[in-house]
Each structure stands twice: as structure tokens, then as C-alpha cells.
């Protein structure tokens, strides 16, 4: 199992010199004058993990060409996108943060059709990442794991399993994370994300944070990884200007030890 992190440009110098990291996920394209980018590109396997577009609608040609160009630039083994619907169709409202679609038949049809269409235009496999919900919307028609299972059955795409997202949903539902995880289509998982969670003042509870995963989260990761037979990589999912170098390197090391 490969273990990596996200490319955080403010930590570029440390990442160029550092050891113990197999790959870097790219949430943003490199800045034009990033002095570390040439060495980063030469040294690491890079995973495309940018915002390509929300697949509740078909991606337009401009977005597809951008995805293709980034995938070629990175030489990525797979392309990741999220199960998200974060802006309105008319572009007027945008929450600027990953937000799940309603888990309905209509959205399932939309995501299946648009993901298959995107996959047809890519030269690499497309993998899709689960997104946490902080509250349920009464219009949803089925549980998220069932919706995901049907999506992957119909598309045969890969699953990027974000474990803190599963852990948080279990927390807010008051159930054991392992029990909630068991509902997900783990046989489809290609990559896992692991990160820390911290208390958030607004949410009055835990949420994803650019911090080290707890021992409990690492145990959860080991539990999950053992149930994902096709998984190839685990990525420490922290991308923030506030992330410190020692947190990144120590997290990767602890993930590797826990696997």
C-alpha cells in the first residue's frame, strides 16, 4: 500500500527534501512561479485531486480539457472527483465547500450519466470520493451507502473512500463508525483518505481539520484497509496554509505504521 499526502505549496521545500512519502495529491495546479514544483514533479507520483466540476451536471468542454491537461501534466494514475453539488444550477449561490447531493433516484441518474461521460473523455480511471453530511435533508430517498453502491454498480468506477467523512457521519448519527462503514461498497475502493478531526465552534462538534489523525482514526483506517481488497494507496488528507511540516510528515509515518 502506497502512503502519501497532499502537496501543500508552503511546505514545498520540506517535501522536496523529505522522505517516507510515496505520492502527493494535487488539490490545485502548481503556481506559475513555485520554485519547488520542478523537483516535486520529478520526484513524486502525483494524483489529480482538483475541483473539476460538479457531476450533477455534465462537465463542459472547457472543464474536460482542463481535467485532461492536468492529468497529463501530473501523469496521474487516476483522476479523482467528489460526490458533490455545491452551487446552484444558475450559478447564483455557491457554498464553496464540499456538499453532498440529495440521495435520490434523479441525482443517481445524473451522477451516473455525467461520470460515465467524463470517464469516456479521460485517459485514466476516474475515482469518486464520498462527502460528509452534517444534516439530513428530508427529500433524500435512500441512505448514502446504498446510493453509492448503486452508483458504483452502474458505472464500475473506483471509490475514493474518505474515512474521516464516514467517521463524522457515524458520530453525528450516534452509531459506531465500523457499523456505518460496513454499509459502503468497500470492494470498489482504490484509495483511502485519512485525516484528523477537531472540535469546531460553529458546528459544536468535531469536523475535518488539518491535524494529525488520532489513534482511534488510525485504528479505524486499519480496520477499513483490511476490508478494501483493491485499495492501492492511503493519503493523509490535509491541504491548508495552516498545516505544519511536522504534522504532515508525522501523520504519514503514523499511517504507514498503522497499516
Amino acid at each position: 500500500m502506497k502512503v502519501g499526502a497532499f502537496y501543500n505549496p508552503h511546505l514545498g521545500a520540506e517535501l522536496v527534501r523529505g522522505v517516507g512519502i510515496d505520492h502527493l495529491a494535487m488539490a490545485d495546479p502548481p503556481a506559475p512561479h513555485d520554485p519547488h514544483w520542478p523537483a516535486i514533479k520529478a520526484r513524486y507520483t502525483l494524483l489529480l485531486h482538483d475541483y473539476l466540476g460538479q457531476l450533477s451536471e455534465p462537465l463542459d468542454e472547457r472543464s474536460i480539457q482542463r481535467a485532461r491537461a492536468l492529468a497529463a501534466q501530473y501523469g496521474t494514475p487516476w483522476v479523482a472527483e467528489h460526490f458533490q453539488c455545491l452551487h446552484t444550477e444558475d450559478g447564483r449561490y455557491n457554498v464553496n465547500y464540499v456538499f453532498p447531493p440529495l440521495y435520490t433516484e434523479e441525482f443517481l441518474r445524473r451522477f451516473v450519466a455525467n461520470a460515465v461521460a467524463l470517464q469516456a473523455r479521460l485517459d485514466q480511471p476516474l475515482v469518486m470520493e464520498n462527502i460528509p453530511g452534517f444534516f439530513d435533508v428530508k427529500a433524500s430517498q435512500m441512505p448514502e451507502p446504498l446510493w453509492l453502491r448503486r452508483f458504483f454498480d452502474e458505472t464500475a468506477l473506483g471509490f475514493l473512500l474518505d474515512l474521516p467523512h464516514v467517521w463524522l457521519e457515524a458520530h453525528y448519527r450516534g452509531i459506531k463508525p465500523e457499523a456505518w462503514l460496513a454499509e459502503f461498497p468497500l470492494e470498489r475502493v482504490v484509495e483511502l483518505h485519512v485525516a484528523g478531526v477537531e472540535e469546531d465552534e460553529d458546528l459544536q462538534g468535531p469536523w475535518i481539520a488539518p491535524s494529525e489523525p488520532s489513534e482511534e482514526m488510525l485504528d479505524f483506517m486499519a480496520h477499513a484497509a483490511a476490508r478494501c481488497p483493491r485499495a492501492q494507496a492511503v493519503t493523509f488528507d490535509a491541504f491548508s496554509p495552516s498545516l505544519r511540516s511536522e504534522v504532515l510528515f508525522r501523520s504519514v509515518e503514523r499511517i504507514r505504521r498503522a497499516l
Binding site: D60, C85, E89, Y97, F99, P241
Partner: protein, 256 residues
């Protein structure tokens, strides 16, 4: 109502605080109001944190002199007071938030940085310019030359800033390592700030030709009249308009 339209309602409720408080939303009872409100506040702070880090990065770089980090405003009573009125992505909300950020940074050791007032106006303008509806995906056919109008008009949000200091000369230095405060030439300078329809904000120095065209581009003045009134030759006007269109500052009106 389609599921997609319902999703849009939920997104609007998260982004638009007055809508979230309205009977039109509350009567639908689609989500637990307390949870939704908490998540909306979380999103608002995240939304503006990202914009502060991006648009106020120069003020951030100066924080060890000013004593004020711009993002600290997000936990002040001034920002809290705005939360019930905020509509994420709206220009009015961007202007209101940018104003409290600038006031917060100004409340520090502003005297130590002579060009700080100019810098804050510049950063405020950048943040406001970025706001507003954007095109997330192209849905229609491409505009062809024949379909273009012939009367240029200013795109909403485009700003021509008149500064007392030559900020473009100092901005890159602020983001490099420094021990002594980088100096900025005191020299009247005009900068143009514009946004593409996809939301990319661009900045360029503005010369007299740019300033004249921006003043006259009202969607009614023809190219001939514009060239005459701005005192530009046709080739100069064409080059200026090409640059302004590329930046997203000007578009061609197609009439009603």
C-alpha cells in the same frame, strides 16, 4: 419541483442568511433548523477565510508590522454582526466583510506602513470584484464575431483604482522573505481590477487610454465615438479593447 431544484433551495438556504430566516424556507421543513444554521455559519467563516487568505495576503504578510492578521476578523463581534445578513458570493456581502477586515487591520500599527491605506483599498476592491454570479459551465453555443455587438460596456464589478503609491512595485516583495519593511514609491498610480465570467480576478496597471475607455464604455457609445472622445487611433482603441476584454473588464453589448 425536481430534486435538482430542491437541492438548489438547500444550497440557497446555506448561502443566504435572510432566506434561511424566511417563512418561505422554514415552512418547507427540509432540514433541522439548528443543524442547518450551525453548518451555514461554519460555511460562512470558511468562505471568507479562503478569500481573506487569497485577497488580503499582502496584509497578512505585513501582520508582524501592523500587529493585525486579517483572518482574525472572523472571530470578532463585527463579523458576527454581519452573519444574519450575509449572502455568500454576493457583492454586497463581500463589500461589507471587506470593510470590516480593512477596519480591523487599520486598527493596528498603521502608521508604520505608509501605504497601508492604499493596500487595504486594493485588497478590498479585489475581494469585491471576485463576488457575484459566475459561469460555472458553458451551456450555450460560443459567441461568434457576427453575434458580438459593437458598443463596449464595462462589466459589473470592474474597478479603476487611483492610488497614491505605486503598489504594483512593492506587492511581490511583500511575499518574499524580508526583515525591513519593503518601501513603496509614493507615486500616483492607476490599477484596473476585473473579473472574468468564470470568476478569475485580474489586475493590470491602467494607462490614460485604459482610463478613458473605461469611462466611456457605457454600452451605447460606438467605437467611432469612443475613439474620437478618447483621442485614440483605431488601432490603439482595438488593442486597448482587446486587452480589456481579455481581462474581463469590458464586454460588447448585444442590445436587448
Amino acid at each position: 419541483m425536481s430534486d435538482r431544484a430542491l437541492q438548489d433551495l438547500v444550497l440557497r438556504a446555506l448561502a443566504d442568511a435572510p432566506f434561511r430566516a424566511s417563512p418561505a424556507w422554514r415552512q418547507r421543513a427540509l432540514a433541522d433548523p439548528s443543524r442547518l444554521e450551525r453548518f451555514a455559519r461554519f460555511l460562512a467563516r470558511h468562505f471568507y477565510y479562503e478569500r481573506i487568505v487569497h485577497f488580503f495576503k499582502y496584509s497578512r504578510a505585513l501582520s508582524r508590522v501592523s500587529g493585525r492578521t486579517p483572518e482574525a476578523v472572523l472571530r470578532t463581534t463585527a463579523f458576527e454582526a454581519l452573519l444574519p445578513t450575509i449572502v455568500l458570493g454576493s457583492r454586497d456581502s463581500a463589500a461589507a466583510v471587506a470593510k470590516v477586515i480593512a477596519a480591523h487591520v487599520s486598527s493596528g500599527q498603521r502608521g508604520a506602513i505608509p501605504y497601508l491605506p492604499d493596500l487595504l483599498r486594493y485588497e478590498e476592491a479585489m475581494m469585491v470584484a471576485e463576488a457575484g454570479p459566475r459561469v460555472w459551465r458553458e451551456t450555450g453555443k460560443r459567441e461568434t464575431r457576427n453575434e458580438k455587438g459593437t458598443t463596449p460596456e464595462l462589466v459589473e464589478g470592474t474597478v479603476l483604482l487611483e492610488l497614491s503609491y505605486d503598489l504594483p512595485a512593492v506587492l511581490p516583495k511583500l511575499l518574499q522573505p524580508w526583515t525591513e519593511l519593503p518601501r513603496c514609491p509614493e507615486q500616483p498610480t492607476k490599477v484596473l481590477i476585473a473579473r472574468s465570467k468564470h470568476g478569475r480576478v485580474a489586475v493590470a496597471r491602467a494607462d490614460a487610454a485604459v482610463a478613458a475607455v473605461l469611462e466611456l464604455a457605457d454600452g451605447r457609445t460606438t467605437l467611432d465615438d469612443l475613439a474620437r472622445e478618447a483621442g485614440l487611433r483605431p488601432t490603439e482603441l482595438e488593442a486597448t479593447l482587446a486587452g480589456l476584454t481579455e481581462l474581463g473588464a469590458v464586454r460588447f453589448a448585444t442590445g436587448s
